[in-house]
Symmetry: C2
Subunit: 96 residues, 2 copies
């Protein structure tokens, strides 16, 4: 009934910097500093974006010493695919 959680997930995609980050992660795990070098943002802004992506389950995270490492979980892709299907499949193609 309420779609608040789905909205939160979709909103995690709705930012140019976060889409750029996802494109980086597609070629494999990246450390936080590499992401910072690629974007024109400050370090706290990067922290904010990574938290948004991880909270939505679109990025995975772990800490190695002082470095943060980020990657794309295959699960995140599945969740997003299912979400899109949930709202856009028409009756004749099978609503979920």
């Amino acid at each position: 009934m309420g779609y608040r959680e789905d909205v939160r997930t979709v909103k995690a995609l709705a930012d140019e910097n976060r889409l750029t980050i996802l494109r980086m992660l597609q070629s494999g795990e990246k450390c936080a500093s590499a992401i910072l070098e690629e974007l024109n943002i400050t370090q706290p802004t990067r922290s904010h974006h990574m938290k948004t992506l991880c909270d939505a389950g679109i990025a995975d995270w772990y800490k190695e010493g002082k470095w943060g490492k980020y990657s794309l979980p295959n699960q995140g892709s599945m969740n997003l695919r299912n979400l899109v299907a949930k709202y856009t499949l028409t009756e004749k193609y099978g609503i979920q």
Copy 2:
């Protein structure tokens, strides 16, 4: 390089009322007044949401007399599917 257009498309999904509207349209074409009855919003707010969905290519639209009719284009679904794939597929599964 810039992902502004993709952000705009995704943002069209990022609202509870618009997700509710999409769920309604999955069972077939609906007129604007039916959508208004289903949601706790005013008529101008509905106009705003429908414009957002149509501008993003997620809903189709035509006018029959004074009534607006809305539906889900199969193409819109494809656009969203491709968008999700573009940002979440990992290298081993084939980046676009």
